[in-house]
């Protein structure tokens, strides 16, 4: 840690960066997002497996516009989110100095190309517990599945914390705020909730980097991460495109193969 802090101090000193986004210890021991603008604040910097918040979510905030170069202490999800944001034209390469710590060793990325290489070599296998949970849900009879999800989704209070926590939900006007036409019912009704979660999952299909922030942010503890996870697995197995691994756009839903499966089409 001290190695990292020293490094960042130097970057502040040489005015290479004017903001550093990392974590400090929260009330419950969790890693809490922290914004450092002065080197002396850095003593609070922490980085461990409790630092799960995806810091990429802040990069499109207007408050960050005044900073010219930003350092980020990134977990793996943040790294992938950076790549996906770059592929979607949302961040500019060269504006960030990115660090991560692996097994006590500090890795420094001066550009996104380096992240692309790192991520492609270190892609984790899907969490077996989550895969098992998905399998369990999928093995239920259809009616049970429907009842289960309707019950789960009916507790949604439409606070949109899932949207706020997601580094890739950056639209200036979300579809749910569109009222001409009113695509999704505003109050948390049965249909409105189902539609919102379908919309969210579909909008992230082929873009979701699987950081799990949406589900972690849900105050009602709805397992909404399963929806995006399922669609990602579908996309990877059918089309082979893994979101958040490439700097160039490689979006499964705006590309196609002539021989994509169509066994469901009459």
């Amino acid at each position: 840690m001290s190695e990292l802090i020293n490094k960042i101090r130097q970057f502040f000193a040489s005015q290479t960066i004017d903001l550093f986004i990392g974590y400090k210890k929260g009330r419950f021991g969790e890693g809490k997002p922290a914004f450092f603008t002065k080197p002396e604040q850095l003593k609070e910097l922490v980085f461990d497996d409790k630092c799960i918040v995806n810091l990429a979510v802040y990069l499109r905030k207007p408050e960050l516009k005044k900073f010219s170069k930003i350092g980020i202490l990134a977990n793996f999800g943040t790294l992938r989110a950076l790549l996906q944001l770059a592929a979607e034209n949302q961040i500019v390469d060269g504006q960030y100095l990115i660090f991560t710590v692996v097994d006590g060793k500090v890795l420094e990325f001066t550009n996104l190309k380096a992240i692309e290489e790192y991520v492609s070599k270190n892609l984790p296998k899907p969490n077996p517990e989550r895969v098992a949970l998905l399998k369990e849900i999928e093995s239920k009879p259809r009616e049970e599945r429907w009842d289960w999800w309707t019950r789960e989704l009916s507790s949604c209070i439409r606070c949109y914390a899932c949207r706020a926590a997601c580094p890739l939900c950056y639209c200036e006007q979300c579809l749910v705020e569109c009222n001409q036409p009113q695509w999704v019912e505003v109050p948390p009704t049965g249909i409105g909730n189902l539609e919102w979660h379908i919309v969210r999952a579909m909008h992230l299909a082929g873009r979701c980097i699987g950081c799990g922030e949406c589900e972690a942010a849900c105050p009602m503890e709805i397992p909404i991460g399963l929806l995006t996870q399922k669609l990602n697995m579908t996309i990877i197995s059918n089309f082979g495109q893994i979101p958040g691994t490439k700097l160039e756009p490689n979006y499964a839903l705006s590309t196609f193969k002539v021989d994509d499966k169509e066994n469901f089409i009459r």
Binding site: S154, V184, P188, G190, A205, T255
Partner: protein, 152 residues
């Protein structure tokens, strides 16, 4: 008692299936009256949200149909649509949505008979399934009942 007559919506592209349905007409091929066609320029234009809206507005079955692969008037709209449907289908599957009510098909401008058959098949199948009560029920879950559910 009167037999249940399902309400079917068909979202079709202008160049193939709409023309195929026209051909069924000019060929005077008779089929069930249950279907209402909504015209789109291309299957690529068809938004999955509209499918949900159709169900919300009382459709018991939805047909989505366009040009066969490689026949798209715009060369690739149907390919993009097909991908979207593959993903959308998987999502509906996971959610336990009654996918037996959603039909995807390719009907070309020359396939008037295929169109008529498709409509008849869909009407027969959905008639067997009965009204889409599940979705109807869903619309009854409203703000007021949330308290009850949370207490469960």
């Amino acid at each position: 008692m009167q037999e249940f007559e399902p309400k079917i919506v068909a979202f079709v592209c202008n160049w193939c299936t709409y023309a195929g349905a026209d051909l069924a007409g000019t060929s005077r091929i008779k089929y069930a009256t249950n279907v209402r066609i909504v015209r789109f320029p291309c299957t690529g234009r068809i938004d999955y949200m509209l499918i949900l809206k159709a169900f919300q507005n009382g459709a018991d079955g939805v047909i989505v149909s366009g040009c066969h692969p490689n026949d798209c008037h715009y060369t690739s709209g149907n390919f993009h649509a097909r991908r979207r449907w593959i993903v959308f289908n998987e999502l509906l599957e996971l959610l336990g949505f009654d996918k037996r009510r959603l039909f995807f098909s390719w009907v070309s401008a020359a396939e008037g008979a295929k169109w008529a058959n498709l409509v008849n098949e869909v009407v027969t199948e959905v008639r067997k399934l009965g009204p889409f009560n599940e979705y109807e029920e869903l619309s009854k879950i409203n703000v007021n009942s949330i308290g009850e559910i949370c207490n469960v």
